[in-house]
Symmetry: C2
Subunit: 406 residues, 2 copies
C-alpha cells in the first residue's frame, strides 16, 4: 500500500466540487462528490434516536440497496429537529441535484451539518446546487474544495488517499471527513465520505464497512456525544477493472487492510482536531480476553473526563486510567495490568500488576509535554487488542461549548 498526496477524486471516475452558497457568511458550505457510474454503497449512520432529516432520507435509500452516484453535503445547518419541513427540504435537495445532473433522486445521498433546529435557507441551497453541479471536476482543486465544503469548526481539511495493487490493477481509496467535536452554536457531526474504484461484491463491501467502523469511527471520542447527523458513506464504482473481490478472493485482505487504514487514519485526524484539544491521545489495549473487552476498555479510558483533564494538565495520573478501565464493563484482573505512557520523548511504566511503580516525575513530565501521547495497557488475559483515539479536555473546550451564545 502506498499513500498518495491526492484527494477524493483520485480513484477513477470520481469528480467533486465545493462552493459557498451563502448558508455561512463567507466560507464554503456546499460539497459534491459524483461518480461517472452507479456505485455499490457501504454506509453507517448515527445510532442516535434523534436523526436529522437527511440521515433518514439516506437510510431509506440504503435499506433499498439503491446504487448511488452522488453525495451532496451542506455545512452551516444540520437540518435536524426541523420537523416535516426538514424532510421536504432534504428531498428537495436530492431532487434538485438529480435534475441538474440528469440523474434520479434515488441516486443521491444528502448530508447536512451545522446548527440544529433552524430550517435550511432553501433558496440559497437550491441556487447553490444549480451552481455546484456545473463546477465538478476530477482535478485536485475540485477535490480540495469538496473537502473544504463540509467543514464546520474544523481547523484543517481532513483527506487521505491510498493505492494498492489488486489483479495487477491499481486500486485507489480516498476519503474526506469533518470533525466530531460538538460545535457552536449547537452540536455538529462527524461526516466521512470514501471513494474507491475497486470492483467488489456489494454485500462484502457493506459487511467490510460494518466491521471497519468498529475499529475506527466507533473508537473515536472527542466528547462522548453521538450526534444527530453522524454519517459515513463509501462509494465503490468498480472502474479500477480488477476482477470482482469476493470474501474468498486471495487479494481481498489487501483491500480490506487499505480500507481499514483509510478509515482509521481519518478517525485519527478528527481526534487531532478535537475542539479545544491540546493533545492527541491514543489508548492501546493488549492481551484482552475478547475483542469486545479490548474495545470497551480502550473506549472507556478515552472517554473519561478525568483522564482527559489529567493529560491536559500533563499529570502522570495512572490511577484515573485504571479507574476508567474499572467501569468499562470488561473482564480483567487489575492485579495483572501493566500501564505505560509513551510519547516521542520516551516511555514510562507507572503501574505493574497491582502495584504503583515509583517513577521519575521529571521524566514523566518531559514525556507528557508532547502533543501526541500513547497510553499502553497490557492485561495479561488473552490475545485481543484494540485502540481508541481522542484528545484532552481543556479550558478551550469549555469555552467553545459554553460561551458561544453569551
Amino acid at each position: 500500500m502506498i499513500i498518495l498526496n491526492k484527494g477524493i477524486t483520485a480513484p477513477k471516475g470520481f469528480k467533486a466540487a465545493g462552493i459557498a452558497c451563502g448558508i455561512k457568511a463567507k466560507k464554503k458550505d456546499l460539497s459534491l462528490i459524483v461518480s461517472d457510474v452507479p456505485c455499490h454503497t457501504a454506509a453507517a449512520f448515527t445510532t442516535n434516536k434523534v436523526k436529522a432529516a437527511p440521515v433518514q432520507y439516506n437510510e431509506a435509500l440504503y435499506e433499498k440497496e439503491q446504487k448511488i452516484r452522488c453525495i451532496l453535503t451542506n455545512s452551516g445547518n444540520a437540518n435536524a429537529c426541523t420537523g416535516e419541513q426538514g424532510k421536504t427540504d432534504a428531498y428537495a435537495m436530492a431532487q434538485k441535484t438529480a435534475e441538474s445532473l440528469g440523474l434520479s433522486a434515488e441516486e443521491i445521498m444528502i448530508n447536512s451539518t451545522g446548527v440544529i433546529g433552524v430550517p435550511l435557507p432553501m433558496e440559497k441551497v437550491l441556487l447553490g446546487i444549480n451552481e455546484i453541479t456545473k463546477q465538478i471536476g476530477d482535478d485536485e482543486i475540485s477535490a480540495a474544495n469538496a473537502a473544504e465544503g463540509i467543514m464546520t469548526t474544523d481547523t484543517f481539511a481532513k483527506t487521505v488517499c491510498v493505492e494498492v495493487i489488486i489483479d495487477t490493477k491499481p486500486v485507489r481509496i480516498a476519503a474526506i471527513a469533518k470533525g466530531s467535536g460538538m460545535i457552536h452554536p449547537n452540536m455538529a457531526t462527524m461526516l466521512s465520505f470514501i471513494t474507491t474504484d475497486v470492483n467488489i461484491d456489494a454485500a462484502l463491501f457493506r459487511s467490510l464497512m460494518s466491521e471497519t467502523v468498529k475499529d475506527s469511527y466507533n473508537m473515536l471520542s472527542v466528547d462522548g456525544d453521538t450526534s444527530t447527523n453522524d454519517t459515513v458513506i463509501a462509494l465503490a464504482n468498480g472502474l479500477a477493472g480488477n476482477e470482482m473481490l469476493q470474501l474468498e478472493s486471495a487479494e481481498f485482505p489487501i483491500f480490506e487492510k487499505a480500507f481499514q487504514f483509510v478509515n482509521q487514519h481519518v478517525a485519527k485526524l478528527i481526534a487531532k482536531d478535537g475542539e479545544g484539544a491540546t493533545k492527541f491521545l491514543n489508548v492501546k489495549v493488549y492481551e484482552a480476553k475478547t475483542k469486545e473487552d479490548a474495545r470497551a476498555l480502550a473506549l472507556s479510558v478515552i472517554k473519561s473526563s478525568l483522564v482527559k483533564t489529567a493529560f491536559f494538565g500533563e499529570d502522570a495520573n495512572w490511577g484515573r486510567v485504571l479507574c476508567a478501565m474499572g467501569y468499562a464493563g470488561a473482564d480483567f484482573d487489575p492485579d495483572k495490568v501493566v500501564l505505560t505512557f509513551e510519547s516521542e520523548k520516551g516511555s514510562i511504566t507507572l503501574y505493574e500488576k497491582g502495584v504503583p511503580i515509583a517513577f521519575d516525575e521529571a521524566k514523566a513530565l518531559e514525556i507528557l509535554k508532547e502533543k501526541e501521547i500513547v497510553i499502553h495497557i497490557r492485561l495479561g488475559e488473552g490475545p485481543y487488542s484494540a485502540e481508541s483515539f481522542g484528545c484532552d479536555l481543556s479550558y478551550e473546550y469549555v469555552k467553545i461549548n459554553g460561551e458561544y451564545r453569551s
Copy 2:
C-alpha cells in the same frame, strides 16, 4: 415526615466522632460512627472492577450478612491500588478499632477516601483510631465532627436527618455524605453513611437499599466517573422500638419514603457541591414507557459534557438535551417530546413535538442565570418518571482536575 436540624447521632443509640490524625496537613481525616447494639446493614459498593482494599473488606462482611456495630473512615488517602499492603492495612484498621471498642473486627466496616496508589501512613492511622474511639459522643458536635472527618475537597459538610412516626414511635433516619467529584490529587469517591433506629427485617432493609440507590446515588453524575471506593452503608439498630417492619407492614411505606428522601437529598447535596460547579442541574423525565427508559434518559442528559457546558454558558441549548436523549438507548419518539427549562425566575418551553419553539432569549437568559435549573422532559409515551442530579461543567472543573500536580 419532619426534617430535623440534627446529625448522624440523632437516631437512638448512635454515637460518633471526628478527629485529625495527621493524614492530611491540618484538617479532620478520621471519622467514626458506633451503634450501642449490633445493626442490620444495608449497603451498596462501587461496581468498578478496580476496588479499593477497604471496599473488598466490607463486601466480604456484607456477603456474610455480618451484623455491624461501627463504621470507621479515613479521608486523605483512598487505600486503592495499594496491592497486598492495602489489604493488610484495611484489616489492621478494623482490628485496631475493634480492640479499642471491645468489639470483633467482623463488626467494623472500614472506608478510605483520597489519593490513590499511596500506602496509608499506618502509624498515624492506628494512633488516630486509639484517640477517636475515646472521643465518641451522641451530641451534635460529635456528629458534626464525624461529617467533617469524611470530607475531601467538599466545600460543605453534607448531613440530613428526618423523623417519622411508626407504631406511635418516633423513628429517625440520618445521613452524612461526601462528594462524588473526582478529586485532587487523584480521584476520590462518594461516601454516604446512614444511621437509623428503626426495627426492620434484615432482608427487607437490604432490598430497600438496592431499590433506593437506583433513584438516588445512581442518578447522580458529577463527571461520569465511578470511583474505586464509592460506598453507601446504612445501619439499623432497632432501638426505636417499633414492631419489626415487614414488606406487608401497613407502615412500611412511611419508612420507605423517608429512607428514599434521605438518600435522594444527600445525592442532591453532592451534586450541588460538584467540583467547579456553578449550577445545580436536575433533569426530570415524565411519561416514559418504562422506569428503565425514564432513568436512562435522565442520566444520559445529566452526563453529557455538551449539556453541562451549555448550562455553564447559560445557553438555552435544547438541541444538546435532545441529542443526549437520542443516544440514551431508551425507547421514545422525538416527535412527541416537550422540553422545558425552569428556575426560580420562571419556565420556558423550547421544543414541542418535533419542532423548536421561537422563544424570548432575554427571558431564557434570566431563567438560566439562576443557580438551580430544572430540565423537564415530557415524552408522551407512558406513566413512568425519573429524575437525575448533576451540575454544569466549568473552567474550574478543568482547573481542579487538570492542574493539581503541575
